[in-house]
Amino acid sequence: MKSSLIRGTLPTRTVALVASAALLALTACSAGSSTSPGSSPGGDQSLSVGLVAEPASLDFTTTDGAAIPQALLGNVYESLVKQDESGKIVPSLAKSWTVSPDRKTYTFDLVDNAKFSNDKPFTAADAVFSINRVKSAWTVSLKSAMDVVQEAKALSPTQLQVTLTKPSNGWLFRMTTRIGAMFSETGVSALATTPVGTGPFTFAKWNRGDSIVFERNENYWGTKPFFNQITLKYFKDPTALNNALLTGTINVIGTVQAPEALSQFTGNDKYQVIEGTTNGEVLLSFNNALPIFSDIRTRQGIRQAIDHRALLDTCFAGRGKLIGSMVPPTDPWSEDLTNVAPYDLAKAKSLLQASGAAGKTLRLRLPTLPYAISCGQVVKSQLEQAGLKVVIDQQEFPAQWLTTVFKNADYDLSIIAHVEPRDLGAVFNAKYYTRYDDPTLQQYLAAADAGDEAAQIDNMKKAARRISEQAAGDWLFLLPNLIVADKNLKGLPQNAITENFDLTRLARS
């Protein structure tokens, strides 16, 4: 089963609830100093990127949390295939690949000049080792994405064959995430502190509680990055993060936490503000196992009671995008479904009256995350206008919310951003905390996973429409990708739809 990360202290770059931050606090006023040019484009220039959530460990094979792949994936570790900014799967350590007619066998042609940072060459044997290791040594729940693999074998040092037990589009996609990271057999002894990968950066230092430092991999097989050194600096406090950019301690705020604070940068010639999309759907979840939600009129009434535009303006400063289902605009099956359940207070009232939900009290259990708290107040107010009574209580995130709402499903309504890519099927099923049991939806999802590209898109469209029409939850908005950076930086990602913060294309103009 796919897993769905939740935005908060387990953030990916998309997840990122928190903002991001910055650099080697080497000097008070000059981060990212530039100096003489070297053999690489940027010479020995350095850069500091401010982020919000510091990894608890550097080993994403045994520790969950989006902060680890955010820092390491694509930068230190590489996978066979990766996603580009438009969401397309493109080559990485695999130059090309073919799929058998029965869609169960993938043959990858690998690059022949990649090396790990421990000087060992990357070969098909390392790919086999990495794939098998997910099944044997990984402990995080994401490992289940590799369950569909029957066998991985090296046909030659540069050719890998993977056989699946059944056709699965989801598997190749998951290979673009941390699950697909390639490890060296001799480089996994101290993953928590010393990552060894083939990427354009090598891990240099981790100042716990403060920053992680990467250095350019001078032996990188592909295009070398511009910066010689990049520091990821971690800030828990959004104001401290903003101040760090304002005072030159960092050069980039990787994920803006508080969009209302953007005004101090938008009018300033020294900075650029980038706004794009993410995979972070902010979901007003319903506990579909409860009798009150068994009547579709209750669910639809709640959806139509919410004025999404007003909500977005109030609780996220109007930044972000309205969506009508669990699909971000970068997925190939994205359709505008915002008109499936448009805001209509009179209709909402009559639906709730008809279902008998009017006047009932619902518990809105919110994780202690800033956007959830502020949006929760708006949701409460709007639902009460439609005739429901709403009681808010806050659950400390992640620990308490995970136990109460997520594991025990002891809630009526909740709000959380689901930031994992392509997580529709993971979020809307009977075992997940949404408790959404719908055989029709499962049929669409199974057909999408097994079919060819056209069948996948067609069935995913049906699935997205199904949960929207059935009002399995309400999609408040899609989190924006908001980045603020020094004006002269280029290569910043417009959309944040992968697990990593891509440092490889950053450069100074």
Binding site: N207, R208, A240, L246
Partner: protein
């Protein structure tokens, strides 16, 4: 004297044991499962149970308590549930950072409070004394984190004189260490200094009303020399008591100030630990803080004896 020392040592030891039980018990009832937080949102119940077993969370609570306490006594702080790293070195590194911050804050508090409080007392009916008193009242009302934010806005963002945040170890770059320490230390020290000023003022006022000081003045000594030679030591006794208590406040204040200034000290380690339900790490950090406070109070008790000769004789 000896009896007093033995008595205070016994109180210290009992306090340490009681504190350790309380800290452990509190962690045990904290809601949220550390194994589930570590494994992520979709972990199966079996995987969570296995990790709980690895953490040793399934064992009886008394066993867990004594194992933990035994480890601490041997200097073994255990292994973090989340990072899988040894906790001892982390706590040691972070404690040094916090110690710098607290010491610098304490020095600033003393430097502010001792002269200001004395002047306020000596001139308590004059405009200068009243003005200082009003300023110190304002200082008492401002929380350290707010002071920090205001100092950052002024000295880092507007004027650009000092870094807004960050931390550099003194051995790596002494100049930057000092520059980065100034604002957080001021945030802590000014607020604590304002509080301390009130106590210094009160203590000096009490001393000024004593007969022996009037006698000193009658001998012809001017007010400040009289106070310096005959009053300071007596005024110091209540102030030292407050200093001990303030150290605890400074340690707690440092937790917040570290966050505002992005300083990797014990406070940020503690907050991360709580958030990740890294319970063993939290227990260790809280215990280190408790020990620090208790030991300081113990030393303050001993300092009384040095300051007040009356305590060196008699049964107490």
């Amino acid at each position: 004297m000896i009896i007093r020392l033995i008595e205070r040592t016994a109180v210290l030891l009992v306090s340490l044991v009681v504190s350790s039980v309380l800290v452990f018990a509190f962690m045990a009832v904290l809601p949220g499962d550390p194994a589930r937080v570590a494994l992520g949102v979709n972990a199966s119940d079996e995987a969570v149970a296995e990790l709980r077993r690895q953490f040793g969370l399934g064992r009886p609570l008394p066993t867990q308590y004594f194992d933990w306490l035994g480890g601490l006594l041997r200097g073994d702080f255990g292994t973090s549930y989340v990072s899988k790293a040894e906790i001892g070195p982390q706590v040691f590194d972070r404690f040094q950072v916090t110690l710098w911050l607290v010491l610098a804050g304490m020095v600033i508090a003393l430097v502010v409070a001792a002269p200001a409080g004395t002047v306020m007392a000596a001139r308590h009916r004059k405009v200068s004394g009243l003005a200082l008193s009003a300023i110190s009242q304002l200082g008492v009302a401002v929380p350290a984190f707010l002071a920090g934010i205001l100092l950052i806005m002024l000295f880092a963002v507007k004027l650009g004189w000092l870094p807004a945040n960050g931390w550099t170890p003194p051995a790596q770059d002494p100049g930057m260490f000092v520059r980065q320490l100034i604002l957080p230390a001021l945030s802590l020290g000014l607020v604590q200094g304002a509080v301390l000023t009130r106590y210094v003022r009160s203590a000096v006022l009490d001393v000024l009303r004593e007969d022996y000081l009037r006698t000193a003045r009658a001998k012809g000594l001017r007010p400040f020399p009289a106070l310096w030679r005959h009053g300071i030591r007596n005024a110091a006794v209540p102030v030292v008591t407050v200093l001990g208590l303030q150290l605890a406040t400074l340690l707690i204040g440092a937790v917040v100030v570290e966050r505002v200034f992005v300083i990797p000290g014990l406070g940020s380690l503690l907050l991360d630990g709580v958030s990740n339900r890294d319970l063993l790490l939290v227990q260790d950090v809280v215990m280190v803080l408790v020990v620090a406070v208790l030991v300081v109070n113990f030393l303050v008790d001993l300092l009384y004896v040095a300051l007040d000769p009356r305590l060196r004789v008699g049964s107490r």
